[in-house]
Amino acid sequence: MATAMPLALPPAPPPPRPRVLMAATGLSIAGLTMFFAGLLGTYFAVRASAGGTTSAWVPEEASLPLVQGNMALVTILMSAVTMQWAVYAMGRNDRQNSYIALGLTFMLGLAYINSLAFYISQLGIGIADTTYGVLTYGILGAHMALMITALVFVALMAFRALGGQFSAREKEGLAAAAMFWHFTVVVFIGVVATVVWVK
């Protein structure tokens, strides 16, 4: 009589994870999208009521250098690549590459802030001079604040990664930080298009 082979069931699926951080990040992004939509929408509405053309809207003394604005954009676009690299590497349990990518992302974020600060210093107008100044400083300053928030988020998740809290199976925090970071990048594309390109 043949010996019955013990029957082994496949391992139970992992318990469904609560994607609490992802949900909260998504909701925050929805709110921030509306915040920037409000700022940019106001910019265009007031611009239209002031004549609708760059010459009628932008004060003569204002200097709007394309190079610095585009440099800030390129910097932040590169940071989106490194951020996704960090998530991808963590998804493969490649911690070393993930740490390197997070470090690069953080540095590119700081470089972006430096670049944007330089751009603002070149504007050549004060906040109070014109309605244009109020809106331009408001939009650029708000985005800088958004980037600082994103940097804090990434830094917190980087510390958690360094503490070994993330792995290929559990990387929700990193994915949420990446989602927020990419949102920051997308918003800046809108900001550049409005303030630097269209004016």
Binding site: P15, P16, R17, P18, R19, V20, L21, M22, A23, A24, G26, L27, S28, A30, G31, L32, T33, M34, F35, F36, A37, G38, L39, T42, A45, V46, S49, G126, I127, A128, D129, T130, T131, G133, V134, L135, Y137, G138, A142
Partner: protein
């Protein structure tokens, strides 16, 4: 697995919701991460601030008693009007909803705590401090009509901080409902109040940031040069859209959740189609999206009230409200209603909300020329105070056993309902009539029909009746100390919050949760009931 299908028990390690021991007294209150203590603090603070809103409302009423100038604060109406509006919405109504949601949503969905409890606590205390600073800014000759530039700046900053705090707490509540539901509690089975909290919360998250953007630009302009906003009342003008339709429907949305929650319990029935109830609430939320209606940032911008979207939404919002009314009526008809105070509050709130929505629909008909008249004030009072306020007080009566472990006095509760309902009608109806007679909104001095003065007197009298109703409520609330313990489920409730102690212990649920196979799990367990 989608985000909305996630389950609560798996998140126990990532969310600090366990029954950690907490300090007692003031230190415990200040450091608490227990959603129940936070919820009660929101509620009590909002009721205290209601006094400020009520006093300012009475001042507004008094300043309109004569068509000659009565300027009690010496500010040309701006201070009392703006403080009344801001306090009513941002210091009373929204915080009351957030307090109820912070307390009840985790209980209703079977969660052991709230998502991001420290963020929720930060939101609560930031709101409280910002609210006090906002009130103080008026005393420092600030506020939108203030003469002191720094005081006006302080008012703008305080309002901005207050809005941020409300948003942070809203994210916490909505995340809890989306990602921490117990097994069996799908979105389709989420109780009506929690559903309304989600729908209203999401709409607030896409609406209030627009107000924040306005505040940022107003602050930059006012602080640095005033090229944009040219006088101090101009500081308030760009924010007026928040207090008008369609946004007011979002501000009052949790009222629909309260109404939909209490009707089946006190009718001892269930909805024929709960999905339609959820759909109606979601549709009101959708039609209440008013972030596009910022018509006053500069005088040159077009009047949104003449645009098709604005007109369409203002009329469309009536449809889901009528659907909800039909569903509520059907549940009452098929049940065996008992006229306890929560049901009275619920029905009264629904009627006033409907009246407000009907008034809103009429106001967009251009031929009537009702925009910018006190017709809008009457509509706002019907929707926010009649719908939102009445339902809010109804919610406090209904959930008082869960909040404080005791039932409020039923006689006083019915007296409160009577005074508030009559008061709102007396407050709002004369404004609708005087609006039709062209009394302008937001100004105390005007030339108009002789009938307007007595109408304004009746409206002010309605305000006094509302204040009396609130006083009876507060006395009833204070009387809770002497009331007998209510027991865990004094109303024979249908939803999960009634399956635990009153008030719940840390961790919310000590034993296993009942099986959830419908939107009314406790009713399903009743021997005489079966799921519909």
């Amino acid at each position: 697995m989608t985000m909305t299908d996630t389950r609560a028990e798996a998140g126990a390690t990532s969310v600090s919701d366990g029954p950690a021991p907490e300090l007692g007294g003031l230190a415990g209150l200040l450091t608490t991460v227990d959603h129940k203590r936070m919820g009660r603090t929101w509620i009590i603070a909002s009721l205290v601030f209601l006094v400020a809103a009520g006093v300012m409302g009475e001042l507004v009423g008094a300043e309109r008693l004569s068509t000659d100038e009565i300027d009690i604060l010496g500010d040309g109406f701006t201070q009392s009007y703006s403080l009344h509006a801001v306090a009513a919405v941002f210091l009373f109504l929204l915080p009351l909803w957030l307090g109820l949601a912070t307390y009840l949503v985790p209980l209703q969905i079977g969660a052991r705590g709230i998502a991001f409890p420290r963020a929720a606590a930060a939101g609560l205390w930031t709101w409280l401090v910002a609210s006090l600073v906002l009130l103080a800014s008026y005393l420092a000759d600030g506020g939108p009509g203030g003469g002191d530039g720094d005081g006006v700046d302080l008012w703008i900053l305080a309002l901005g901080a207050l809005v941020v705090a409300l948003l942070v707490s809203t994210v916490s509540v909505v995340t809890t409902a989306l990602a921490m539901r117990a097994p069996g509690v799908t979105l389709a089975r989420t109780p009506a109040f929690s559903w309304a909290a989600v729908a209203g919360g999401v709409m607030l998250l896409v609406t209030l940031p627009l107000m924040l953007a306005n505040l940022l630009l107003i602050f930059l302009d006012h602080h640095y040069g005033q090229t944009f906003v040219d006088d101090s009342f101009g500081v308030f003008l760009p924010l007026l859209w928040v207090f008008r339709q369609p946004t007011i429907y979002v501000l009052a949305l949790p009222a629909l959740g309260v109404i939909a929650e209490v009707v089946p319990v006190f009718s001892r029935s269930r909805y024929a189609r709960f999905g339609l109830v959820q759909g109606a609430i979601a549709a009101v939320a959708l039609f209440g999206f008013g972030a596009f209606a910022q018509q006053r940032l500069t005088p040159e911008l077009a009047e949104v009230s003449e645009e098709a979207v604005f007109i369409g939404l203002s009329i469309l919002v009536l449809a889901p409200l009528l659907l909800l009314t039909a569903l509520v009526g059907d549940a009452i008809r098929r049940g065996d209603p008992r006229l306890d105070s929560p049901l009275l509050f619920g029905i009264g709130a629904l009627l006033l909300l409907l009246a407000g929505a009907a008034a809103g629909a009429v106001s967009v008909i251009e031929a009537f020329e009702l925009q910018d008249t006190t017709w809008e004030s009457g509509q706002m009072h019907l929707v926010l105070l009649g719908g939102g306020g009445l339902a809010g007080f109804g919610a406090l009566h209904y959930w008082a056993p869960k909040l404080w472990g005791r039932r409020m006095g039923e006689g006083a509760a019915k007296l409160t309902f009577l005074l508030l309902f009559l008061g709102v009608v007396l407050l709002a109806a004369p404004d609708l009539v005087s609006g039709a007679l062209d009394q302008p909104l937001g100004r105390a001095v005007f030339e108009g029909d002789d009938a307007i003065e007595p109408l304004n007197a009746v409206s002010a009298g309605g305000g006094v009746v509302v204040v009396l109703g609130v006083l009876v409520f507060l006395l009833n609330l204070l009387g809770l100390r002497r009331a007998e313990p209510a027991g865990d489920d004094p109303w024979d409730g249908h939803t999960l919050e009634w399956a635990t102690a009153s008030p719940p212990l840390p961790g919310n649920f000590t034993g296993p949760l009942p099986d959830v196979s419908s939107d009314r799990p406790l009713l399903d367990q009743s021997p005489t009931e079966a799921p519909a």
